[in-house]
Subunit: 187 residues, 2 copies
DNA sequence: CTATTCCTTTAACAAATGATAAATAATTAT
DNA sequence: ATAATTATTTATCATTTGTTAAAGGAATAG
């Protein structure tokens, strides 16, 4: 749990008793490459923290696999469009590199919000920051060429090298052929 | 304040005493077309509710005016990337049609969070929903042609007709020339 | 270790959008 | 009402990205 608390503390510090309450609703587990952490059609009722490994959220558009986002070591991953609406998610979460995760039961978490004001505040702040990241990502998508977005992604994280090109291409909103071409031009 | 409470109640109902506390930190005012509600460089410390009128958030990219979002009657507007980080905003808010607004003092609002748990919850939920809208918008930008996005925007709201084409073009991430061409093809 | 499958690259052509310039239309200020 | 400014359309050409197909590489299962 230490890694998770390091992450949480960065956003807002909660009382020791609140940490104990959080402990109660967390489960650790290991997953292998390519396993699905969550499948299509399920309503999202879990927030995951990645102690180790890489994961992605993806969906199928006209039968084509589109990566919505990646998550790396030390971050959380959740299908917020389902978590915050209670509707079934049309997205799935897949492990891209063997992972150690902590699953936070969101149903129980939301109940803890009633009794532990600081836990509600903590997660409010976490998701506010995630919201800001998403607003910034729109600018990146909308006003940069595919070439610029790829270079920016390379600068952002060196995990990129380990992710299959096709996932990066769909994340960037372009075809694999196009990304391959961009890569060739960079060299 | 009735319009504002209708909006707030849709998300989460707060206690009458909490409404009174909210009243204390709200100020109504009128603004004319083209006025700036907030200017570049200020840190965002106000959340606005639009009782009437149209507003947009915009910024300058390489000197070019880019519209990030529109807000219409019955909705709120805020520069969240500043509101949630405390950093100065590189964006401005402009009135596009004469407006009646309610300004909510965010600094005071955040203080109310400590004493009125339900107010914190209300705004948590409001911004969670705004976050979901933003996540969905990414899909819209990334996997639809400019033509499709324009048509979707037309379906979404008929306020579009009243907004200058150049603002819609930059919102859609294309040039005005390109949007004009798309419009011509639709007819 | 080999065969199979999946992933990535390359090429040729098509389609969408950008850039620039100029003409027309609409709005605003005087 | 008129002039000045601002917004929109149209046209041409350049660039980027998509589409399809085929070949070469890498990973995986048996």
């Amino acid at each position: 749990m230490t890694d998770l608390y390091n992450f949480l503390d960065q956003h807002y510090k909660i009382a020791p008793t609140s940490k104990l309450a959080l402990d109660e609703i967390c489960i650790s587990s290991s997953l292998k490459k390519n396993e699905l952490l969550q499948n299509f059609g399920q309503t999202c009722k879990t927030i995951y923290f990645l102690k180790e490994g890489i994961a992605r959220i993806f969906y199928l558009k006209d039968g084509i696999d589109i990566t919505e986002s990646f998550s790396f070591q030390g971050n959380i991953i959740a299908r917020v469009e389902s978590l915050f609406t209670g509707k079934p998610s049309q997205k799935a979460i897949q492990i891209l590199e063997d992972a150690e995760i902590i699953a936070i039961n969101a149903t129980k978490l939301f109940k803890l919000y009633d009794t532990h004001h600081d836990i509600e505040r903590l997660f409010r702040i976490i998701f506010e920051h995630a919201y800001v990241d998403t607003v910034n990502r729109i600018e990146s998508i909308q006003f940069h060429s595919a070439d610029e977005r790829y270079k920016a992604l390379l600068d952002e994280t060196n995990y990129v090298q380990r992710i299959p090109l096709k996932h990066i291409a769909s994340y960037l909103g372009i075809t694999q052929v196009s990304l391959s071409r961009i890569r060739a031009n960079i060299k």
